[in-house]
Symmetry: C2
Subunit: 166 residues, 2 copies
């Protein structure tokens, strides 16, 4: 493994951890706890576990693409990857901090499309790189339905930041 | 890159993200904000950035060791790595949740020793693997001094979980 690959791996990982940290600093609090949620909402403890696995798989995928892309062909798939990662990093602040559930839903739908496009490009480079992104797409599918459901179920209700309702 | 390396990379990354998530779910709150802290305490916003870089570098290091270790020789350095990672994952819950600053200090000192030992073993496998662990050791050195200082400065004071003092 040459030095450029080591640097690429470190950069890919730093981007993933930085994105994960946006979720860490924009966490669900009393506001989220007080929202009406659908019966199939995953339990809170599942989210950090699921996200750990998703970030691990997507980072490994991006590194595979870097390693296996023919010269000059890594740029497009890794750009698509970067776009979905930026959208991923936007979602938690928009949902949990700004508490704009409608805007957050737009973000997560754009993110879902970007992930799908990334997967298509990744499969053209390496089979495993594409495959390891699929759990992430499924998880974001669930997350987007959850975002939409919570948004719809709480329209017309006022839930304050401290969790009290009016 | 063979399938076992891809799996190893995904496992190393999942372990790192899972450890990072222990910090994400045990965050500083009003209790930490109310503690007396030394003048050189890094600002709160620096911690997630620094940790993103540290986790990225350490994960890349561990993967290099997996890739470059002669057959049978990856076990010892990666075991040392796993031990320091477990100690890393214990620290935030002990400090921020249990609010046991003395026990947290013991954890961070044990972690510092485990990181140093990991670095020695990593350097024997690959130069870059050892080198990329050094910022982490420096950061944990600062963190351990911060833990010790905060512990000493707040002995005899009672700081409640809501940040009020008595």
């Amino acid at each position: 493994m040459d030095i450029s690959s080591i640097i690429a791996l470190a950069v890919i990982l730093a981007a993933s951890f930085a994105t994960a940290m946006t979720a860490a600093v924009s966490r669900p609090g009393p506001w989220y706890a007080a929202l009406d949620k659908p019966w199939w909402t995953p339990p809170n403890w599942l989210f950090p576990i699921a996200w750990s696995i998703m970030y691990a798989l997507m980072s490994a995928s991006a590194f595979l693409v870097w390693r296996f892309a023919p010269p000059g062909e890594a740029f497009a798939p890794l750009s698509a990857y970067a776009i979905q990662l930026v959208l991923n990093g936007l979602w938690s602040p928009v949902f949990f901090r700004m508490q704009w559930m409608g805007l957050a839903y737009l973000v997560v739908v754009a993110m879902w499309v970007a992930i799908l496009y990334t997967i298509v490009l990744f499969f053209q480079i390496n089979y495993w790189a594409g495959l390891m992104m699929l759990p992430y797409l499924l998880w974001v599918t669930v997350a987007s339905f959850l975002n939409l459901s919570v948004w719809r179920m709480n329209r017309g209700r006022t839930v304050h930041a401290d969790g009290t309702t009016a």
